[in-house]
């Protein structure tokens, strides 16, 4: 018997994409309502400038340059997204990605400016340092039963303050920012490998972007095609069953968090070693990148390839937030939209369930007639 051919809408992948689009739509609609409440006159234009982001600039060359800048910031966000995703696949909620990201930023900048190390050493150090922090959370969870969310939040603050302390040693004397890499430690800058020519000479476009995409592919392959990925996922699904099957469930947990942390730390190095931003040592809030990573991970349907698109979208609207009319609205409106998108992601299961129900109903109705 030939299996019944599934229609397009019945494909689980299509349903995931549809569910994510619903989440985005809810976020945008509520964002628009908030804009209307603040000032009805410019609401439509404000939402458009958030969605247009770099297209705000009419000249294609300038737009291309700013498109490059958005991509430069998408790379670290994608890494944070993958970090959250990797841990979540193993049943761990790595809200500590923000702290691991801070540690990656701190170590990579300190090794670049303080020790004048070349960029690849800085990348490795950032990975190791952030991996240790992640592994520590995993250890606390596996052996001492500490809730990973609360441990992660505590370590976020500890990491932030420690990095501020560390980087005060390499900051500009007149400001709170770390010394610019381009003038003080050019060896620490990531190579562009000709990529900048693709984006109207935007010098911040580096190999970080292809590396981040490569990481997404690696995470996908490891998770879906290797024995290690299978073991880690089994641990996440049922820790007792994994133990019974002879897996080292505690080590698996720690390993997961080490990898998750290392990815987040590497992401921070991708941003700060491109030279586009300097770290402010007076920072009193945990970097938002880690939290936006949670948004992108769920929006991407918890699939590494989907995350490439969702990370770009989240960064696109976050960057777009800076183009709203600052005399009327605040740029935090983008944060508000992403937060609502994350909240809507909580209903994804419900959306999918309704879709399946709807399809089943339609079929029943169809066969009757």
């Amino acid at each position: 018997m030939k299996p019944e051919k599934k229609s397009f809408i019945e494909n689980p992948g299509v349903q995931s994409v549809l569910a994510s689009l619903i989440c985005i739509l809810i976020g945008l609609v509520i964002g628009y309502i908030v804009l209307l409440l603040i000032n009805p006159a410019g609401a439509g234009r404000a939402l458009l400038s958030i969605l247009k982001n770099f297209l705000y600039f009419p000249r294609p060359q300038v737009a291309l340059e700013y498109f490059g800048s958005t991509l430069v910031k998408t790379a670290p966000l994608l890494m944070c997204t993958l970090s959250v995703l990797f841990a979540y696949k193993v049943g761990l909620f790595n809200i500590g990605a923000a702290g691991q990201y801070a540690v990656g930023a701190g170590l990579s900048l300190y090794f670049a400016i303080g020790f004048k190390m070349p960029w690849f050493v800085c990348l490795i150090v950032a990975m190791i340092g952030a991996g240790i922090i992640g592994g520590f959370i995993g250890f606390l969870k596996a052996y001492l039963n500490v809730n990973e969310v609360i441990a992660g939040i505590m370590l976020n603050w500890i990491s932030l303050y420690s990095v501020n302390m560390l980087l005060t040693g390499v900051k500009e004397s007149s400001t709170t920012y770390t010394l610019a890499l381009r003038t003080n430690a050019p060896g620490g800058l990531l190579p562009s490998a000709g990529l900048q020519n693709l984006f109207s000479g935007n010098k911040y476009v580096t190999i970080a972007i292809p590396l981040a995409i490569l990481t997404a592919v690696i995470v996908w392959v490891v998770m879906d095609k290797t024995a290690l990925g299978y073991e880690l996922k089994a641990t996440g699904l049922n820790i007792h069953a994994a133990k019974y099957a002879g897996m080292k469930e505690k080590q698996n947990m720690i390993l997961t968090m080490v990898i998750s942390g290392a990815i987040a730390g590497l992401g921070a190095a991708f941003l700060y070693l491109s030279g586009i931003e300097q770290w402010s040592c007076a920072q009193t809030s945990v970097p938002a990148m880690g939290f936006n990573g949670i948004a992108a991970a769920f929006l991407g349907g918890l699939h590494p390839i989907g995350c490439i698109f969702s990370a770009f979208f989240i960064q696109h609207i976050t960057s777009g937030g800076s183009y709203v009319d600052k005399m009327v609205y605040s740029s935090q409106i983008s944060d508000l939209i992403s937060a609502i998108i994350i909240y809507s992601c909580g209903f994804v299961l419900f959306f999918k369930h309704s879709m399946r129900k709807g399809i089943a109903k339609a079929k029943k109705g169809g066969s009757k007639s």
Binding site: N147, I150, W157, M165, F298, M327, G346
Partner: protein, 313 residues
């Protein structure tokens, strides 16, 4: 020294209120990780009352501010209640979204409000220098006892009585331990969980307004509440989900938080030559250590975090 006691008491009150909120919610079976965002919303509610009615007389100011904070916190926690109880959403995810949303929404709102009042004012701050005076209960020398401290103690006693001595409390806890069993004897699990989450929202909101009026006379909503909601959860775990122990834990954590404000007033602490940042980190470090020691034999409600499914027995 009096200053240290004063700050310890006020921060302990904040932690106590929010931790008790978390306690109600978790005993009903829902993990409220959104307390951080709920605190911001409560703080916003209270601050809006103080901003809109700056001339209210003392006691009315106090009551109205509390009401504003409680209502905002309660309504905001509906987001968690609906998602987690009716739609069986992932509670960690929803809580995280609420934390992000709380700070973002409060910032957007306050900025819009400030800009409407004065085109050039793009800050996210609300000031309440004079309004704050209404919160002082008694002043003995330089020591200020706040109404909120008294309120926190009363709520602590109430929590103990409600949870262990009333029908409602025992039923609530049954829903967090074994909801199926509770359902089988006719307790409406969904209603009980709603009650747990909404009480936690009200207390979280109240904690928020106490926090922002603790040491300063204006609050920038961009900054959120700096992880205090999560510190409160650590207090709750350290207190083993029991109100009386939570009270003691809150005092300990309050002390460490207070040290970061006023360590420079103590010669022996200054002589240690530790950087000021270290004292900022202290509460988080202590809480991590305490969590590591006390989580092993955790007495967490057994069914917390698991959506209730009638079909599962």
């Amino acid at each position: 020294m009096t200053l240290l006691i004063q700050y310890t008491l006020i921060y302990a009150s904040v932690l106590l209120l929010v931790a008790l909120g978390g306690c109600y919610s978790e005993h009903s079976g829902v993990i409220n990780l959104g307390l951080e965002g709920t605190m911001v919303m409560g703080a916003l509610g209270g601050a809006l009352v103080m901003r809109s009615f700056p001339t209210l007389p003392g006691l009315a100011m106090l009551l109205m501010t509390i009401l504003g904070a409680v209502v905002f916190g309660l309504v905001y926690s509906l987001l968690l209640a609906v998602a987690a109880i009716n739609f069986k959403a992932d509670q960690t995810l929803v809580g995280t979204a609420m934390n992000l949303l709380g700070t973002a929404a409060a910032t957007v709102f306050v900025k819009a409000l400030n800009m409407r009042a004065d085109r050039n004012n793009v800050s996210s701050a609300i000031q309440y220098i004079n309004q704050k005076k209404a919160f002082t209960l008694v002043k003995i020398g330089s020591f200020e006892l706040s109404w909120f401290m008294l309120l926190a103690v009363l709520i602590l006693i109430a929590a103990h009585v409600v949870l262990y001595k009333t029908k409602f409390g025992l039923r609530l806890m049954a829903c967090g331990e074994h909801p199926q069993a509770a359902d089988s004897v006719g307790i409406n699990v969904l209603k009980m969980r709603y009650a747990g989450v909404l009480i936690s929202g009200a207390l979280g909101g109240l904690g928020g307004i106490v926090y922002i009026t603790a040491g300063v006379s204006e609050w920038k909503f961009e900054n959120g509440v700096a992880g205090f909601g999560f510190l409160a959860l650590a207090v709750m775990i350290f207190g083993q989900w029991k109100p009386t122990l939570i009270g003691a834990a809150a005092l300990l954590f309050g002390l460490f938080r207070a040290l970061s404000n006023i360590y420079s007033g103590f010669d022996f602490l200054v002589n240690l030559h530790l950087p000021g940042t270290f004292y900022n980190m202290l509460p988080y470090i202590i809480s991590l250590i305490i969590l590591a020691i006390f989580s092993k034999n955790s007495r967490a409600p057994k069914a917390e975090g698991i959506p209730y499914d009638k079909g599962q027995r």
